[in-house]
Symmetry: C2
Subunit: 196 residues, 2 copies
């Protein structure tokens, strides 16, 4: 593994802190402590806190792309979608403690009326477009985007409720229900054409 530069290390630690505590609630002092550098040193790498947020979003866009690319190794689009659904299981501890990193960041930036909210929603757009292409590969050309948004929204709802109630059982039940829903979707509609 290549050695991490200081800006990369700052972005990584800030990413975790912004997720676990929120953007506003995380101070420079918190990040400095996590990285192990002095507070005043930040401004050689980032000119403001918003700049760090920008780097964190860029980082999340990159890790999301990498994760989606990894799921592409599975030949079956249905299995790829199941990989997406199962991140709820894989990350269940963090999700029950802090919610979904993408959803909660978007929510916070909306409230702060922060200009970076548009870039944050691009992370959602990555998932949406990737899911839509999987649904399209399953033959759902007409409603690929709708199905993608539905699944994305449902995952968000699960994350919010599981975190609010600390209810792992609900999370697991909903993941199972989403997999059943996926299996029950009509397939091989490739040649079917619906009138406009």
């Amino acid at each position: 593994m290549a050695k991490q530069t200081t800006p990369e290390l700052i972005a990584e630690k800030a990413d975790t802190l912004f997720y676990e505590r929120g953007f506003e609630a995380t101070s420079f002092a918190d990040i400095a402590k996590a990285v192990g550098i002095s507070r005043g040193n930040f401004y050689h790498h980032f000119k403001s806190k918003d700049d760090i947020l920008d780097a964190v979003i860029t980082r999340r866009l990159a890790t999301t792309r990498a994760m989606l690319a990894g799921w592409e190794e599975d030949a079956d689009p249905a299995q790829r979608i199941i990989s997406f659904v199962r991140i709820l299981i894989v990350n269940r501890s963090k999700i029950m403690a802090y919610g979904c990193p993408v959803g909660t960041l978007n929510t916070e930036l909306s409230k702060l009326d922060h200009s970076a909210q548009n870039r944050a929603s691009d992370i959602f757009a990555l998932f949406r477009d990737w899911l839509a292409s999987q649904f399209a590969a399953l033959g759902h050309r007409q409603d690929a985007q709708d199905l993608a948004m539905q699944l994305l929204a449902r995952s968000q709802g699960v994350a919010v409720m599981a975190s609010a109630f600390g209810d792992e059982g609900f999370l697991r039940a909903e993941v199972a229900a989403m997999e059943s829903w996926l299996a029950a979707l009509p397939k091989n509609l490739t040649t079917k054409r619906q009138g406009h």
Copy 2:
């Protein structure tokens, strides 16, 4: 209308600010300005910011109970549930700007590891239990709680995505889909008994 006491007025203005900006991002100065009283005056009514949060949650519990009671005037349980779903439409402007007040408060308090998060989730519990009793009245005795949680989660997912993308079309489409789902639910299962 009875004249509002100062503590009530503080709780009302804080309620709005906590919703629109978040709990942490709202300062005493912000609330003081909204109420029109001096900053130092707070401590005669509330001994800390957490005390104000407590009053805000108490207020939200009360307004939620009142709203649910209002919906009870409709004789048809299915229509009552539709009243719930349609708050997404009624409050769409605020939801697209700030998300769901209940969900976003729970999310923020989770991240802050705040002791009031349990009380905040009680607001969700009010909705869940009320919805469950409506589903039970529709004949879904066995799975009333599950259906309530599903509908609650779906609403939360819609609020998160509609706010992230600023997508009113998605919000409206999902409300319509939830109403269709409700209409398609099997009814009059009152006499049916499933084992155990």
